[in-house]
Amino acid sequence: MLSDFSEKIQSLFKKFRGYGKLTEKEIGEICRDIRLLFLESDIALSATKKIVEEIKNRLSTLEFTTETSPGTLVSNIVREELINLLGKPGNIDFSEKPTLVMMVGIQGSGKTTTSAKIANYFATKENKKPLLVGADVRRPAAQLQLEKLSQQIKIPFFTDKDPFLACEGALNLARSKGYDLIIVDTAGRTHVDEELLDELKTLNERFQPKNNILVIDSMMGQEATKVAKAFFNTIPLTGAILTKFDGDARGGAAFSLREVTGVPLIFLGVGEKIQNLEKFDPVRVVNRIVGM
């Protein structure tokens, strides 16, 4: 495994004379290593090919001088291309009152936990009055999980026996009590489960949330491409959250998601606790891949 990309690139350059242009063979060697690095970081194959091509073009026009270390130069190019792909962090759209946020994603990605995290974030940092809605009526104790989290952070919780009734009831409750941010936690569903994807589609048509947020696990592999596509084709996604970034996963899924949907990332989940939510920072994610 490539443990430290920068080191690897530096060592590649030991063979290289250190100034002038790179030969085609040298570029090929460097690009092969970059490609491997990306794949082992779980960046989608299609995205990998695209960025490596970009990098290859930039390398072929590069003139090395004796002043800068070629390794650093190449690392910087890789870093720039990756940061470009991730783009600017997204936002929650608060233009509608109450603001509706629907959290979607595959099983176990972190939807319920992140719903509570977001409620807490906007309540404490932006003075919002959130309402948490348990619309997962399928997984055992899913509603109770969100209810318990809502109690921990003293934010109201609402649920009903199906997701439609839960959303409808929540909207009414929010209007009467002045809650301005409704966060709906939906059941986990695979991207091949058409019946459940249809349910999302109908929910979206009925309630037209300004914010449809895909929750994805940092550890996810090449499958991220298909997951992103399937959810994106079902409902208009407005943002994504990358969870479990507190481990050592490289988070290639973020790049896959951006490449296939263009949807911006909004937050990073960095722990199991409700406070463990941070604004998405592309540099941080890229550093995890390229090394500092």
Binding site: D42, L45, G108, A141, M220, Q222, E223, R250
Partner: protein, 283 residues
């Protein structure tokens, strides 16, 4: 069935006159087989193909070579209470799999399983397991949220023994393998079990999500350095994910895959079949 239903990644390749080995390599990368192993498989398959094996057979055999021989089984005996401990990162499917294994033990061994809720951390994790227990009509031993999990296991083992239950299936909290204190907590649980019932846990099952990428190899590495992992359960294979990384794991750490999870229901657990798994990668 779920495996054949899932994906036929090689369909565009098989049956071609001349073989594009780079394309085959890419298909492996797309199902999260690490690049090193993917290259080895392609090299091996090429050799078999040059020796006149049809391409699909060559690939299938090359993949099967990376998986241990024999049908994987769970250790169970009636002579003493067996303990099956489930571990893994957050959200991989441990709690659901505990319920599935309980059901399996009833059907396969006519056993009288019991569940211990040692995830005292995640909100409503205990309730989740209790609901499964009710549905299966089996006991679930638990304490309050935030109790010490090792203490829950200790008390739970005593209670399970006095109720003469077997196997004793333990659900633990999800934890990332990078968190040393949480890995220590697991080791402590393993020690408590060994002290209470000699030779147990007979199964330490690492639950891995098929949609995970290369990080799964690290998970297997660190969990198996900390505990004596006896097998892998690969969940969520009812999606289109394949968990190709298990080839890397079995090769590097020699841990067999014992079961696959193919849905959220209690019956959605299937013993791992390496021929079928290899076939699932190739049409």
């Amino acid at each position: 069935e779920a495996l054949t239903k899932t994906r036929r990644v090689f369909s565009s390749v098989v049956g071609m006159e001349s073989i594009d080995w780079d394309e085959i390599l890419e298909k492996f990368l797309l199902v999260d087989v690490g690049a090193d192993i993917a290259q080895e498989i392609v090299k091996d398959a090429k050799k078999r193909w040059l020796n006149a094996a049809p391409i699909e057979i060559a690939l299938k055999e090359a993949i099967e070579d990376f998986l241990p021989e024999g049908k994987p089984q769970l250790f169970f005996t009636n002579s003493h209470p067996c303990v099956w401990l489930l571990i893994g990162v957050n959200g991989s499917g441990k709690t659901t799999t505990c319920a599935k294994l309980a059901k399996y033990s009833i059907e396969e061994f006519k056993a009288t399983p019991i569940l211990i809720a040692a995830d005292t951390f995640r909100a409503a994790a205990i309730d989740q397991l209790k609901i499964w227990g009710e549905r299966l009509n089996i006991d679930v031993i638990s304490q309050k949220e935030n109790s010490d999990p090792a203490a829950v296991v200790f008390d739970g083992l005593k209670a399970s023994k006095s109720r003469k239950r077997n196997p004793i299936i333990i659900d633990t909290a999800g934890r990332l393998h990078t968190k040393d204190n949480l890995m220590e907590e697991l080791k402590k649980i393993e020690r408590v079990i060994g002290k209470e019932i000699e030779g147990e846990p007979s199964e330490v099952l690492l639950v891995l999500d098929a949609s995970t990428g290369y990080n799964a190899v690290k998970q297997a590495e660190v969990f198996s350095q900390s505990l004596k992992v006896t097998g892998i359960i690969l969940t969520k294979l009812d999606s289109s994910a394949k968990g190709g990384y298990v080839l890397n794991i079995t090769k590097k750490f020699n841990i067999p895959v014992k079961f696959i999870g193919v849905g959220e229901g209690v019956d959605d657990l299937v013993p791992f079949d390496k021929v079928q798994y290899a076939e699932g990668l190739i049409p």
